[in-house]
Symmetry: C2
Subunit: 184 residues, 2 copies
Amino acid sequence: MVINLINYSKFQKNIINYDNRGMTLENDLNITNSFYLDKDIAIVYKKPTPVKVVKQISGKITNAYFESPSTTDYNGIYKGYYIDFEAKETTSKTSFPIKNIHSHQIDHMRKVINHGGICFIIIRFTKQNETYLLFAKDFFSFINDNKRKSLPYLFFKEKAYLIKEKLAPRIDYINIIENFGGIK
Amino acid sequence: MVINLINYSKFQKNIINYDNRGMTLENDLNITNSFYLDKDIAIVYKKPTPVKVVKQISGKITNAYFESPSTTDYNGIYKGYYIDFEAKETTSKTSFPIKNIHSHQIDHMRKVINHGGICFIIIRFTKQNETYLLFAKDFFSFINDNKRKSLPYLFFKEKAYLIKEKLAPRIDYINIIENFGGIK
């Protein structure tokens, strides 16, 4: 009976995984980017988190810590266009706190737009299980016009693009870019 | 007298630094990319080396090791163009061993070209103290036509672009791209 219970629990765990509950946005984006790469649609990678190595003994790092990144986490190329984005989850039902994006990341996004790149943020509201793509220009319009410290959920409903989850590609953000990203 | 000697040694060290002897190509490129960023010429970063974390105790990494990167080390945007490159030094006077660029990095470069990116390698012959930019298309022409395991120094003289070192930007690769990179 114990064995059966263990097996059932394993089985349940698998169901949950396939069903995507509990999958992080980062995981979903990694799978999506692998799909784009395999199908030769786009070349996008997550940048490794920078690590400050304090001590290293013959190849093995024994003392180190994560540093905060100076740019967004993802960049790459689609149809010759430079694309660049940040991805974040929030457990809030009503808004996305802007402080979740570092000020140097915001500076970076501003520069990318000025240099003609396609720049956006992907935000997942985990409670609603909804993932939105918000173009950086709309993000900047908001923070220029508002003193609020968070982007309301309703703002996403109005200005961002809901990315419906599919089997493959799971989070098809390239489809949004193709249709609304100013691709010629 | 001892104090004077110490001061002189410090002074000498500074001279050597300004003079660029002993500066690695990576250092030079970091300084160059900072210059481009400050002057709003291009946005290019070196990707952090990926680190596989085995053990972490309350934020401190106590067991980890460096992983080999799946892409080139540098990418970014210039005038709306996606740019992507790898940078390597060699102590050989006569050739650059191709095995210094991983096969998955070569695959990545091939994809970048196919997607319309500007892709190249920057190679420094440390003995000659010469730094060359070789466009990926010329690199691929060579490896398609040859069975050699290294790119001869004379090939660089013929097909690559010598980047003369300056005070700022130190390694002005953007100048080569502007003139020979197919920028419209």
